[in-house]
């Protein structure tokens, strides 16, 4: 009886996610165009990735995404959460950063494509208003295009991280902070020595999620540049899509996705282990 209750969920997930995942690993060892029968070619797909200049560029872009996601939306979220707490107008500022969370990545991508347009875009319009004689082409020059998209991503993601840090700050007990103040510690010292260490669990989650999510970014890049021009703004997630569904290099695409997944799992390993450990305690 108990298995009957699990069956629908289990069957759907195993048939459409777990088994396909294993199959995907299997395909990554084949040369396959999706139509003719797959040809086994061992590790050649993986080896090809190391000599593929497009994949190298895409790796570099992925690293840029990860690093700057940690700097802007993650660290930015912490800074905003700390400074906005207890401020007059706190709720107003919080809801401002909240707005982008209610729309899709596709919408964000389109809005920022308009903002960053060269001739009729808002940003260059503001530059002209300020009398700055610059007219950058945000989405076609390299590496500016990657940074422009990270900016759009920050606009959407900062609110999420802010909410998490606000939650964390809310759970810190008053006593140790008051003790600090009595001992004569200033605000900065209180933050560094008491608040920040107590935020550690949330910080871990935010950092893990920020890294994992920047490896998964797809929609924003697809909408804003399609990975172009000439694959210059691709990340691994986009390269996989292009190799698989535009060039029909199914085996190669599968290999890229396996590498992508390995990196993601590696990053979240510590976090998953902690989670399962805590859950085991419950069982």
């Amino acid at each position: 009886m108990s298995y009957v209750f699990i069956l629908p969920a289990f069957a759907l997930v195993v048939a459409l996610l777990v088994l396909p995942m294993m199959q995907n690993v299997y395909y990554s060892f084949f040369k396959w165009d999706g139509i003719s029968p797959p040809l086994f070619n061992g590790l050649k797909n993986y080896l090809a990735m190391f000599t593929d200049p497009v994949i190298a560029g895409s790796m570099l872009n992925t690293v840029i995404w990860v690093v700057f996601t940690l700097v802007f939306p993650a660290l930015g979220g912490l800074v905003v959460a700390v400074f906005v707490t207890g401020l007059r107008g706190e709720n107003f500022f919080k809801s401002v950063f909240f707005i982008p969370l209610t729309i899709s990545f596709v919408a964000t991508g389109i809005i920022w494509t308009y903002m960053l347009g060269r001739e009729l875009g808002v940003l260059n319009g503001v530059l002209a208003l300020l009398g700055i004689p610059l007219k950058p082409s945000y989405l076609t020059s390299v590496p500016l295009n990657t940074f422009s998209m990270i900016f759009a991503w920050t606009w959407q993601q900062l609110g999420t991280n802010m909410v998490m840090f606000l939650m964390g700050l809310g759970t810190i007990p008053r006593d140790p902070i008051e003790a600090c103040i009595i001992d004569g510690a200033n605000k900065w010292q209180t933050f560094v020595h008491v608040k920040f260490p107590m935020l550690a669990p949330i910080t871990t989650v935010v950092i893990t999620m920020a890294m994992v999510n920047s490896f998964k970014v797809f929609d924003i890049i697809y909408v804003m540049t399609r990975g172009g021009p000439y694959s210059s703004s691709e990340t691994l997630a986009i390269s996989m899509f292009r190799e698989t569904f535009t060039l029909f290099h199914m085996g190669y695409g599968a290999a890229i996705s396996v590498v992508l997944s390995l990196i993601v799992i590696l990053i979240s390993a510590a976090y998953i282990r902690r989670m399962t450990k805590r859950d085991m305690l419950y069982y």
């Binding site: 289990f10 996610l17 209610t102 899709s104 308009y114 998964k216 929609d219 909408v223 992508l260 993601v264």
Partner: protein
């Protein structure tokens, strides 16, 4: 006064950030109210010479047949969320309370579905759907959306059901309720909070999906809304006032859902990250 002065730099930065965050929102709305002529001849901050939003909307709906895609996505969001609520609440109840053998292993297998990037499933699912004739069908879309949403939803229900006191269940058992009766008359009526969290997050996720829609559908009668909106841009950027009108129009359902279920958002965030 001195206190205010000390806070001044903080306010300055926050106001600057606020402007940066609101500028895209305001300019997008403004553009959607402009005609193509106004858009080309004006600068971004000028007001439109006439209110063109509804004309843009009518044009977009007629030219891109957006209502088809809107209907599709409405169906996927509704059907997918219902399937997920049923499947995940049942599984959560079983894992927490019926305790089958290997319940933790079963949970981990299902939960592993959220760990990997979606790219890991695309090729095999695309192939599987082709052999099962599910490619480019609405049934196929509902199935894959449900499967993707189950792991997180199961997590939500499982977490919630551990907080329901066992005494209630024992009482039901004494009254002669079997597991099915206990689930329906004891657990389900108390499941409002997790169900709201699941509905908010999963309906929004399905509505906003681009990747699976692009890979698993082709026909206008199957393609979800975000794919339709994303392909409006093309390489040249397309007609910005039209596209922006479409963006605003197609964002309304998720924004409404968000407003209605607002208080469950934080709860869902807590669950999704402390998970």
């Amino acid at each position: 006064m001195t206190r205010w002065l000390r806070k001044a730099p903080v306010y300055a930065v926050l106001v600057l950030l606020t402007l940066m965050w609101l500028l895209p929102v305001v300019s997008s709305f403004l553009v959607s109210f402009k005609s193509s002529e106004d858009f080309v001849s004006q600068t971004f901050y000028q007001l439109p010479t006439q209110i063109y939003f509804f004309k843009n909307l009518v044009t977009v709906i007629a030219q891109y047949r957006l209502l088809d895609n809107l209907g599709n996505s409405l169906m996927y969001s509704a059907a997918g969320t219902v399937v997920v609520i049923i499947a995940a609440s049942m599984a959560g109840f079983s894992i927490v309370r019926l305790r089958p053998k290997f319940n933790f292993a079963l949970f981990l297998i299902i939960y592993s579905g959220t760990l990997f990037p979606f790219q890991m499933y695309l090729i095999p699912v695309y192939r599987l759907f082709n052999t099962l004739n599910l490619y480019d069908t609405r049934t196929g879309m509902v199935l894959i959306y449900s499967a993707i949403c189950i792991p997180f939803s199961l997590f939500v229900y499982r977490g919630f059901y551990t907080t329901i006191p066992r005494e209630i269940e024992e009482a039901a058992k004494l009254d002669g309720c079997g597991p099915a009766r206990t689930f329906i008359s004891v657990f389900l009526p108390q499941s409002l909070a997790p169900t709201a969290v699941v509905a908010l997050f999963q309906a929004t996720w399905i509505w906003n999906d681009l990747l699976f829609g692009m890979v698993l559908s082709r026909a206008q009668s199957v393609r979800p809304i975000m794919v339709a909106v994303a392909t409006m841009t093309g390489y040249g950027g397309g007609n910005i006032p039209w596209i922006m009108t479409a963006v605003i129009f197609t964002s309304i359902p998720t924004i409404l859902l968000f407003v209605v279920l607002r208080k469950f958002f934080i709860q869902g965030m807590v669950l999704s990250i402390t998970s």
